[in-house]
């Protein structure tokens, strides 16, 4: 009996739909031609130019720093918000709080950006802080919208965690703050790591909100890439994108491998549970 080829074709089409653009981008990053679309030969020329391009590297470094600060800030605030939603029962104003926390998930970025810009300008006029727009305002704005994502991730993890673990710790004499740091935090650590990575990624590629709240001397990588479209794209961008894709793919691959190994070990240990 012949096996139908249809599933394979559909799978191929689906993968092509998702990844063909990225494959093209990677291929053309090795193209020895000024044009983005005409293939002339293999070369590492654009990687070389990328290293020489001080402005581009500086923007990349700035973006990484902003993303790091954002992720750390968002994890702290998002964890607090998640705890509030998952562990403090039906306090007054809970529904409003839950709604407000998730609002940034659906709010158009243009509105968020505009609102934050207005806030920063009025604050500066009123109390003189933050002085001008720059890295600080970008980080604050990014924390504002990424903490919602973190809060959702943390909350769902807390909801699935057995509350009696925390009660048991309290019963054994640990005060609530101690319970949080010694029991809750280690158990929800994977959710905190994914929340951190999520905030990091969101911050790294945000363009719209950043454009509103950035100032002179705080041009992030997405802003450079976007503005260079108007001046004519150089394949240098492809090279940069390829490096990013490679780093991300390696990271995901490594995480997947470690997770699979951990699951395998755990499964083996569980199957031998109880034996001496």
């Amino acid at each position: 009996m012949r096996k139908s080829r249809l599933p394979m074709i559909l799978l191929g089409a689906g993968l092509a739909f998702l990844y063909l653009p990225i494959v093209l981008l990677v291929v053309y990053s090795f193209n020895d031609n000024r044009s983005l679309t005409v293939w002339t030969g293999f070369s590492l020329r654009w990687y070389h130019e990328l290293i020489e391009d001080g402005q581009m590297l500086e923007a990349a470094w700035l973006s990484l720093r902003i993303a790091f600060a954002t992720a750390c800030g968002a994890v702290v605030l998002g964890t607090l918000a998640g705890m509030m939603l998952a562990r403090f029962g039906a306090f007054r104003g809970r529904a409003l709080f839950a709604g407000m926390i998730s609002a940034p998930l659906v709010m158009p970025e243009v509105i968020m950006g505009l609102a934050l810009l207005l806030l920063f300008v009025s604050l500066e006029q009123l109390i003189g802080w933050p002085a001008g727009r720059g890295v600080l305002t970008i980080v604050l704005a990014h924390i504002t919208f990424t903490m919602s994502f973190v809060a959702v991730v943390i909350q769902s993890r807390l909801v699935s965690m057995d509350v009696s673990l925390e009660e048991a710790a309290m019963d054994l004499g640990a005060r609530p703050a101690k319970v949080f740091f010694v029991i809750t935090l280690p158990i929800i650590a994977p959710a905190i790591v994914s929340g951190w990575l999520l905030a990091f990624t969101l911050s790294l590629d945000d363009l719209v909100i950043t454009s509103f709240v950035s100032g002179p001397g705080s041009t992030t990588l997405p802003m450079i890439v976007f503005s260079s479209i108007r001046l004519g794209l150089k394949p240098e961008i492809n090279a940069l994108a390829t490096i990013v894709v490679a780093v991300v793919a390696t990271g995901i691959g490594l995480a997947g491998f470690l997770e699979a190994r951990r699951a395998r070990i755990r499964e083996r240990e569980e199957s031998q549970a109880g034996r001496v």
């Binding site: 009660e167 054994l172 004499g173 280690p186």
Partner: protein, 397 residues
């Protein structure tokens, strides 16, 4: 219900099951004994729902006290109020004479063993057990010694370095027990301690629990829905129903002298005959029951007005079943006839289901004393059922 404290018969039978019950072992009978845990008119409401409704209980030092009830009876809520995870809406709780109002769980002289065991998944067995001692700042050497001692007691020394997921269900249960006992609490609360174990392990663990409790002299308060478990382990049982205490007593009292139809039917199986009082004297009562098809003569019963409606509860093992008419009985008293409809042969005993002419189905159990393959009584046999005057319990609600 619980406000009529002693519905036990007059005169009280001496040691109904022949167990020696010396007075000091039963502090609840001593009017001067000071209760270790005192629950006073405690009410707990969640919104409109009343989970615990005006419960008062006294639990004495060294008791193995069970809260027995179905789901939603309020037993777990009551336990959680003792631990401090819930606050009573009304009423007060005293532990060792101290009012527990406003005292958080981490400051109570109480430890709890959770139904899910709640072992910390990221810590080894050893660290799980040591957790409570670390919170109190016990010196390291002492922690090591006490943890080792506890693990020795629950026979888990070789597993000290394991994580909880590397243990079997029974081992996890023992880690949870060791962790809740290591701080030497005066009062240990156990929420369905054997609920997650399989039947064979459960029976074995019942005795281990009782042994440990006796050895350490800790007061145990256990929540369970399993009446057999409660009967085996407890010094006293409080039967709970819809947030109320239906009855408090020793396993024997609860089984032999239930104070209500609810308790009688909740614990074990029972035949319940509806009737009305014909005679109520000091030494006996006579109840006429159309359902039973005879008069029920009961030697012990509280005084009831003649003509009032009541129920007589008779346990299946107290009903004897014969093919021939039993001798030495007053005609029409505690003797009736019926047809065998079902027989369940369980090896040690057989359970017979007999239909009376009134349509009432009666359950009778008889031990299989002789060895024979052919049963002396079989399906569709017409049989005589009779019971002794002490067998019945008269109930009014």
């Amino acid at each position: 219900m619980s406000d009529a404290p002693d519905l036990r018969p007059r005169p009280a039978p001496k040691n109904p099951i022949g167990k020696s019950q010396a007075a000091p072992l039963e502090p609840w009978r001593d009017p001067n004994a000071k209760p270790y845990v005192q629950i006073e008119k405690v009410v707990k409401r969640f919104g409109d729902f009343t989970a615990v409704d005006n419960v008062s209980l006294s639990i004495y030092r060294g008791e193995f006290f069970s809260l027995l009830g179905g789901s939603g009876s309020g037993k777990t809520t009551l336990l959680r109020m003792l631990a401090g995870f819930e606050t009573p809406t009304e009423g007060r709780i005293f532990i060792d004479g101290v009012d527990m109002a406003g005292i958080p769980p981490y400051d109570r002289p109480v430890n709890m063993m959770f139904q899910s065991y709640a072992l910390f998944p990221h810590m080894t067995v050893e660290n799980n057990v040591a957790f409570g001692l670390r919170q109190d700042g016990v010196p390291k050497d002492e922690i090591r010694a006490r943890v080792a001692e506890m693990l020795e007691m629950v026979k888990l020394t070789p597993f000290a370095k394991r994580k909880p997921h590397q243990l079997s269900g029974g081992q996890r249960q023992r880690v949870a027990l060791a962790r809740s006992l290591v701080k030497k609490p005066k009062l240990l609360l156990l929420d369905e301690p054997l609920g997650a174990l399989d039947k064979r392990l459960r029976e074995q663990t019942q005795f281990e629990l009782v042994n440990i409790q006796e050895k350490l002299g800790v007061t145990f308060v256990v929540v369970t829905h399993d009446q057999e478990e409660a009967m085996t382990m407890s010094s006293r049982i409080a039967v709970m129903d819809h947030g109320h205490i239906a009855q408090v007593g020793t396993p024997t009292e609860i089984y032999e002298y239930p104070n209500s139809r609810f308790t009688a039917e909740f614990i074990g199986s029972v035949n319940m005959f509806e009737g009305h009082v014909v005679e109520s004297e000091a030494d006996h009562s006579l109840i006429r029951s159309a359902e039973a098809g005879c008069d029920l003569y009961v030697t012990h019963a509280a005084h009831l007005p003649e003509g009032s409606r009541c129920w007589v509860a008779i346990r299946p093992e107290k009903v004897s079943i014969t093919k021939d008419k039993p001798a030495e009985l007053v005609e029409g008293r505690n003797v009736t006839r019926g047809v065998v409809r079902e027989i369940a042969y369980l090896g040690d005993v057989s359970i017979y289901q007999i239909d009376l002419p009134s349509g009432k189905r009666v359950r009778a159990t008889a031990p299989n004393v002789t060895r024979r393959t052919e049963l002396p009584i079989t399906w569709d046999d017409e049989v005589w059922l009779c019971w002794r005057p002490f067998a019945g319990v008269v109930l009014t609600d």
